[in-house]
């Protein structure tokens, strides 16, 4: 058989039943120019994510008609005429909190995947390789490691770790196994030492622990336990001591698992997790271990990642060899974003599904005793910033017991027609009183009026005056509507704090 015939017959679309176009769907798109539909719909991908999770972990039943109808409704929200013209930094219809926690300024430091590439309305074609950054950790002011995926095409992406040794201005790709590996847990105890847990999806092979001890110049890999396990979280207190919490894929449902090593991954021992604990299913780390053997992890008592349940916290005093359930006030949660400034002080923003299926904050949990007991801060302190527009939290970092930064995005489809077309609008929030009050931070102006931030995570703060974040720029609605070339680019943001009172008695923020 010749190559043309082989190609034609291998068309995957021949094996699916493509639905007929429904005139009603077209009409719903074109008729949805009033704002009334916008309130009832949700962001497409966020919703399908929730729906898919539920389907996979609970019933597994496909309801294409429901999805298709909701997709049209979502589309209806997108085409709602909206107020455009704003091309400056992200902003919200919010009133800053009562505190003034941070005095500093965020600035645009560089581009993580395309050195020298300048984002502008005339930037031309897309970069041929693009990194979607998922995790960021900065052991020192100068050195940061990022973990993400390198986009080659829609079916072929790979995990990639990049490193900067000059504060985020220049990055280089440090590790890209090229065999389909994705990176999950990611931990860098020192500037030279970094570990990442990688796994090739559906390969039925052991996950691997990748380690560098020379600042990312070279990496070695060792097999990790489990043939069918995903080491979601990894925290290495030192170059030798690491703990991991992951999920074992079984025919019925994923099961939480935990292992620890005291010899840099040469060997691993299993540890038992409390039965009520399920690790949070997000990209951001929610496990933190310290050299004195203390570990804290955030999760839920739900039935799986993003399964609605209650916040569940666990702690260990022996490097993750044994785990104990903490005393936690009842709080509805599907996932937790946790950051510990030291082995005693941690703050977690808990999120749960709202009535429309969005992931919004349900409150904060704070511990001052190493995770043994947690106190609750109601969500009103976070929700008050978002006014009528729901926020979904993406990452958190707490360099001190009182200072934290959290990245969020506005959920545009509940904006009643006033949000930009771009799917998300990034917001950076900060607290200087341990999460009691929060305020929004000003992000630097995008390099072009046609661009805006759609995300500003992951964020990592080395100290209360030095932070890094990787944001994403995309076209504004007006630029998109004007037919400007598509732009999607990760950019590095840096926060440089300073004295409370800056030059000439003016605040630096």
């Amino acid at each position: 058989m010749n190559i043309e015939s082989l190609l034609s017959e291998a068309d995957p679309a021949l094996n699916v039943r493509i639905p007929d176009p429904n005139p009603l769907d077209a009409r719903m798109i074109s008729d949805s120019s009033t704002g009334s539909n916008a309130r009832r719909v949700r962001s497409t991908y966020r919703f399908t994510g929730q729906h898919r999770i539920t389907s996979k972990l609970n019933d597994g039943i496909r309801r294409p008609a429901v999805l298709a109808a909701l997709a049209v409704l979502v589309t209806a929200a997108i085409v709602v005429p909206i107020t455009v013209g704003h091309s400056g930094p992200p902003r919200t219809n919010t009133t800053p909190g009562v505190s003034t926690p941070t005095q500093g300024v965020w600035s645009l430091a560089g581009y993580i995947s395309q050195p020298g590439w300048q984002a502008s309305s005339a930037s031309g074609p897309l970069p041929t390789t693009q990194q979607f950054t998922l995790q960021l950790t900065c052991p020192t002011l100068a050195t940061c490691y990022s973990s993400g995926t390198n986009f080659q095409n829609h079916e072929k992406t790979q995990g990639v770790i990049s490193v900067t040794h000059n504060g985020g201005a220049n990055w280089r790709q440090s590790l890209a196994p090229g065999d389909g590996t994705y990176f999950y847990g990611f931990s860098c105890p020192t500037a030279n030492t970094c570990m990442a847990a990688g796994d090739v999806p559906n390969s039925k092979t052991h996950p691997s622990l990748y380690t560098t001890t020379n600042g990312g110049e070279s990496w070695t890999s060792l097999p990790m336990p489990g043939l069918n396990e995903l080491p979601i979280f990894l925290s290495c207190a030192t170059a030798l001591k690491c703990a991991t919490i992951g999920l074992l894929q079984t025919p019925t449902a994923p099961t939480p698992t935990s292992y620890f090593t005291a010899n840099g991954g040469q060997s691993w021992e299993p540890s038992a997790l409390p039965p009520s604990f399920f690790p949070s299913g997000n990209d951001q780390p929610a496990l933190d271990c310290f050299p004195n053997g203390h570990c804290v992890a955030a999760g839920t008592s739900g039935s799986g990642p993003l399964g609605q349940g209650s916040a569940s916290m666990i702690y260990s005093t022996d490097d993750g060899a044994t785990w104990v359930s903490a005393s936690v006030p009842p709080m509805t949660a599907t996932s937790g974003l946790m950051s510990c400034s030291d082995d005693n002080h941690c703050l977690s923003i808990e999120s749960s599904n709202d009535s429309n299926g969005y992931q919004i904050a349900s409150g904060e949990l704070v511990t001052n005793d190493g995770g043994l007991t947690w106190s609750m801060i109601p969500a009103t302190e976070l929700a008050s910033l978002s006014a009528s527009v729901p926020m979904s939290f993406d990452s958190i970092t707490c360099p001190t017991t009182t200072d934290c930064w959290a990245t969020t995005h506005l959920i545009e489809s509940e904006c009643n027609g006033t949000c930009p077309y771009v799917p998300d609008q990034a917001v950076m929030m900060a607290t200087s009183d341990g999460g009691l009050t929060w305020k929004t931070e000003q992000l630097p102006l995008p390099p072009s009026a046609s661009l805006q931030y759609v995300s500003d995570y992951p964020v990592y703060c080395v100290s209360a005056t030095d932070c890094r974040a990787v944001g994403t720029l995309e076209l504004t609605k007006s630029a998109s509507d004007a037919g400007l070339p598509w732009v999607q680019q990760d950019v590095v943001l840096t926060f440089n704090g300073g004295p409370v009172t800056g030059v000439n008695d003016t605040s630096k923020s």
Binding site: V16, R46, Y421
Partner: protein, 193 residues
């Protein structure tokens, strides 16, 4: 200010566009989103939402279909970011079989072999083959979608097919298949894509 007459015309234009292009666009998206096929209806809706917003900019038929392919490409990029960030873990945890409504219960292993070989090609090589052999575009239409000349498409197809054949040979080694894809040189012009 859009007059009622213009509004009616836009509606009619959009509905005709939707009817004529829904299936090709659905297939286009499906072919390129195999990892997340349950999201295909959403992505297709997004494509047509963009088309509605820019109804005044739409080129006349049959160029409008090519324009939609371009929009679909961008929507797929956006989808990839969402999928990559939010659903990556969960998709890997999937315990249920693919929920796309398959016409056949099994897929020909040879087809899978060809699809796998396609994934080994460089993106532009793969895309030009898909546009011509799967999406059914002529060389001129593919050139329009890709923004290059017809001659470039023809040349690219020739080289892409050769590279695909090599990939297939590598997957099923035969005595004379010792060469690899690097034996087909990549020219500076090709690098542009």
């Amino acid at each position: 200010m859009v007059t009622p007459q213009a509004s009616r015309e836009n509606n009619a234009k959009f509905e005709a566009l939707y009817q004529a292009n829904y299936k090709p666009i659905y297939a286009y998206v499906h072919r390129r989103a195999l990892q997340s096929s349950s999201d295909v209806p959403d992505i297709v809706s997004e494509v047509f939402a963009v088309a509605w917003r820019r109804i005044g900019d739409l080129p006349p038929s049959p160029q409008d279909r090519l324009w939609l392919f371009g929009v679909a490409h961008k929507c797929l990029l956006e989808h990839h970011r969402r999928w990559s960030r939010r659903l990556r873990l969960l998709s890997h945890l999937e315990v249920q079989p693919n929920r796309v409504e398959l016409l056949e219960s099994s897929v020909d292993p040879q087809h899978l072999r060809v699809q796998a070989a396609l994934q080994e090609l460089r993106s532009f090589d793969r895309e030009v083959l898909l546009l011509v052999y799967w999406d059914g575009l002529s060389h001129a239409e593919a050139a329009s979608v890709l923004g290059c000349s017809v001659n470039a498409v023809a040349l690219r197809i020739k080289k892409a097919k050769a590279r695909l054949q090599i990939q297939l040979d590598l997957a099923s080694p035969s005595p004379d298949s010792s060469k690899d894809t690097s034996s087909i040189p990549i020219t500076p012009k090709e690098q542009l894509s």
